[in-house]
């Protein structure tokens, strides 16, 4: 092997280890009942247990926050699709200028940090529509906005790969209404990018901490942050589940995303 190649392999290995070690440590801490000080080569494989995870799963606080997070994630995915699919379809058909406006506003969440977004949100609605701040589902619009850069991009790719005009003309000339056209012609043709966008929205919501933390809503990441003190093993175990879950979502999104392009 040439020395140059060896150096590049070294880069890959070092960075790979850097990626791997924290995850391995978290796994070990969550599922092995031996303090690090007492760990040695003799007992690396003993006392592994999934009990911390099971105990946490049966905790009522965990259950309520997990359910909340799951419902928020689903609501966000649904609202994103309801909002974006019709709007972007119309923009594609009728006006390229509107497309440009949508695109710019979709990147805006990159510019406005989540913390600033939620501060503005609270400031605007605290006195006008207090229900929006009191109910946890008032956060759904914020989550939709936070996920917008990712979801918009994938839906945009999906729409761009369709021959929208022909599809719609065909459907309309056969007597379908607009709603029917969107539901039975556009949506099935975009199913790959719709799936990708939903996966990305789920990932964003399940991991989101900033917004829920400032609005004092007890979502899963908040539960983790506060359970860390009393039940470190359990909360680390759940944290790991969260990592695996969002890794699965992102990978699934990548898979579907490739199908969109081809």
């Amino acid at each position: 092997m040439k020395p140059g190649r060896l150096a590049w392999w070294l880069v890959i290995w070092v960075v790979g280890l850097f990626y791997l070690i924290p995850m391995l440590s978290m796994t070990r801490f969550a599922f092995q009942r031996i303090p690090v000080i007492k760990l040695s080569f003799n007992n690396v494989f003993s006392k592994w247990t999934i009990e911390p995870l099971l105990t946490t799963f049966s905790d009522s606080g965990f259950r309520s926050s997990a359910m909340l997070s799951i419902w928020l994630a689903i609501a966000t995915a649904v609202l994103t699709l309801l909002l974006l699919v019709p709007t972007m379809t119309i923009a594609h058909l009728r006006s390229p200028r509107m497309r440009r406006v949508i695109e710019i506003s979709a990147v805006l969440p990159f510019v406005v940090p989540a913390i600033a977004l939620v501060v503005g949100f609270a400031g605007a609605f605290r006195d006008t529509i207090p229900q929006l701040i009191r109910s946890p589902f008032g956060m759904v619009p914020l989550y939709v906005i936070t996920a917008l850069p990712f979801t918009h991009r994938t839906l945009e790719n999906g729409l761009a790969s369709l021959d929208l005009r022909t599809l719609i003309d065909a459907s309309r000339s056969l007597g379908a209404s607009w709603i029917r056209t969107v539901l039975f012609v556009i949506v099935p043709n975009m199913r790959a990018s719709i799936a990708t966008a939903s996966f990305l929205a789920l990932t964003v919501v399940l991991g989101e901490f900033t917004i829920a933390s400032l609005l004092l809503k007890n979502t899963l990441p908040l539960y983790l942050a506060y359970a860390q003190g009393q039940n470190p093993q359990g909360s680390f175990a759940v944290g790991l589940v969260l990592v695996v879950l969002s890794a699965g979502f992102v990978t699934a999104a990548n898979r579907f995303g490739k199908r969109v392009v081809s």
Binding site: W9, V11, P22, M26, P113, I115, L214, A225, S235, G239
Partner: protein
């Protein structure tokens, strides 16, 4: 608005920006190395999909689980801390704390490096094979090719990536919060402190002002990013 960038609050902004810049600079360097390594070792098929796949997972990571992972690895009783001590590298003895400046930089690198890799891989793919051949036929060594041909072409992408990484770290909140259990000097954590007024109330305005400054700073960064990306795309038609 003015008070939010004076005195201790200015220190807070400077701390945040320094942290972002340092983690972005290191992320830029290592992330680029990884991107080049993938391209150089392209005959190993799985490597590319493995690294790019994991990078897209890790770049989206952050938040609470990431803080947990690093606490269990590089915390006082961390596995990596322990392993390093076995080979006589005593991190804690050197004054390294995962909640300190360099500790947070280390944690942020976990999403900064893969983000840079993801930005740079398409840019390197955009380098045309013919340019390499031309350089070679004119007698350039591999190093000369990278130094005088590839680097200038990649510069806009590198700079743009750098700015995006800074903005990315600047906005990160959850990880810092969980690492320091809410006591960090970072701007986002400070904003929360003012808005929820655990001790001082009546200073919520300051929170709003700091948030406004954050938007302003990030806006400048992103506009810079857009301009540079547009320039870097001029090379690929």
């Amino acid at each position: 608005m003015v008070e939010a960038v004076t005195g201790q609050y200015r220190a807070s902004f400077i701390y945040s920006l320094e942290l972002s810049a340092v983690s972005a600079a290191i992320g830029l360097f290592i992330g680029s190395l990884v991107a080049i390594a993938i391209v150089r070792l392209e005959n190993v098929r799985v490597l590319r999909s493995l690294v790019v796949g994991y990078s897209s997972v890790a770049a989206n990571m952050g938040g609470i689980p990431l803080a947990f992972a690093f606490l269990s690895a590089f915390g006082m009783q961390g596995l990596a801390t322990r392993l390093l001590r076995e080979i006589n590298i005593d991190l804690i003895g050197w004054g390294f704390r995962i909640t300190d400046f360099w500790g947070i930089v280390l944690v942020y690198l976990y999403f900064q490096i893969p983000l840079m890799t993801l930005i740079l891989v398409p840019a390197i793919d955009g380098l045309r094979r013919t340019w390499h051949e031309v350089a070679q036929s004119l007698g350039a060594t591999a190093n000369q090719y990278w130094r005088f041909v590839a680097l200038p072409i990649l510069t806009p992408a590198l700079l743009g990536g750098f700015l995006l990484l800074i903005a990315n770290a600047f906005a990160a909140y959850a990880t810092a919060f969980a690492l320091s259990s809410g006591g960090s000097r970072l701007v986002p954590v400070q904003i929360r402190f003012f808005l929820q007024g655990e001790t001082i109330t009546g200073k919520t305005n300051l929170g709003y002002a700091m948030a406004a400054w954050m938007v302003l700073l990030t806006l400048v960064l992103v506009i810079g990013f857009q301009t540079l990306v547009r320039r870097s795309e001029r090379w690929r038609q």
